[in-house]
């Protein structure tokens, strides 16, 4: 994952300076300069739900920093979940871990969370 203190260094001209990759398998998700930075407060399910059977509720966290991708075909490799409440969740196309962000059906935009991916050209 990319630490929040390191987010600013990833932004160049409001875009992602480096490629965006899966933090687990390094699969290339998005090439450099293809996403635009945006801030919004959104609840996103945790990648690891606690294995506490008694807790039925979905565990989420508020995320604020995203790469906005307006055309889903801009991605190099990405997976889309089935729809839940007007959103599809984005996962790594190779190892399927996620969600690393979400796709909003109404706008057709995709949002990739900076904190759930790694940034680097290798």
């Amino acid at each position: 994952m990319t630490e929040e203190s390191n987010f600013a260094a990833q932004i160049e001209n409001d875009r992602n300076k480096l490629s965006v990759r899966c933090q687990f398998c390094n699969c290339l998700m998005l090439k450099a300069n293809e996403g635009s930075y945006c801030e919004q407060e959104v609840d996103v399910p945790l990648m690891q739900q606690k294995q506490d059977r008694s807790a039925e509720a979905l565990q989420t966290e508020k995320l604020r920093h995203f790469w906005l991708i307006k055309d889903m075909m801009t991605f190099e490799n990405i997976g889309f979940s089935h729809t839940v409440d007007g959103r599809k969740f984005l996962v790594c196309a190779d190892c399927e871990r996620g969600p690393v962000g979400y796709h909003e059906l109404a706008s057709k935009f995709c949002y990739l969370a900076l904190g759930r991916v790694v940034h680097g050209d290798k």
Partner: protein, 204 residues
């Protein structure tokens, strides 16, 4: 404005009887502990994968089909825009093989006329339970003039190769018309052409 940074876009569908392994072909066979319970519960709808074939950058949009779909319920809207179809049977299930003919008829009736097809005999890792031998798969494919491969989603045999072959077959078909279809295609900077893991390997 967004530039197009790829040459071609192919929409592919996975079709076949329930239980033949379509979902496992598209999604990794992961019973590993890291799989998010959240994601595995809701399931994955489709994937976008980028491959490079003959110097062209191709985006594959690959769709799974819902388990309850049957050939008689799948109609034109379902196939809309599909350029390639993976028709899957299970080598341990005779019925799923027999139904290939029905699926082919359904595709003929409802899909685009020049859709590229490929037959996959999946679960080839289960040799002890095999009831459909490879020759029968080859024969039916030959009869219909389409490609064939035995695969295993579980052991990851031929999965990536199959997608590449299908994409390549579509590419062969479209290459003649490509300039007309992509008048504004941008040239890709080769130096920055990251190799995506996975499908690329088999296309070299």
């Amino acid at each position: 404005m967004a530039k197009k940074t790829y040459d071609l876009l192919f929409k592919l569908l996975l079709i076949g009887d329930s239980g033949v392994g379509k979902t496992c072909i598209l999604f990794r066979f992961s019973d590993d502990a890291f799989t998010s319970t959240f994601i595995s519960t809701i399931g994955i709808d489709f994937k976008i994968k980028t491959v490079e074939l003959r110097g062209k950058k191709i985006k594959l949009q690959i769709w799974d089909t819902a388990g309850q779909e049957r050939f008689h319920t799948i109609t034109t809207s379902y196939y809309r825009g599909a350029m390639g179809i993976m028709l899957v049977y299970d080598i341990t299930n005779e019925k799923s093989f027999e139904n290939i003919v029905k699926w082919l008829r359904n595709i003929d009736e409802h899909a685009n006329e020049d859709v590229e097809k490929m037959i996959l005999g999946n679960k080839c890792d289960m040799s002890d339970k095999r009831v459909v031998n490879k020759e029968r798969g080859e024969a039916i494919a030959r009869e219909h003039g389409i490609r064939f491969m035995e695969t295993s989603a579980k052991s990851n045999i031929n999965i990536e190769r199959a997608f590449c072959e299908l994409a390549e077959a579509i590419l062969d078909k479209t290459s003649g018309r490509e300039s007309a279809e992509n008048p504004e295609r941008v040239v890709i900077d080769r130096k920055n052409n990251d190799k995506a893991p996975g499908y690329n390997k088999c296309c070299a």
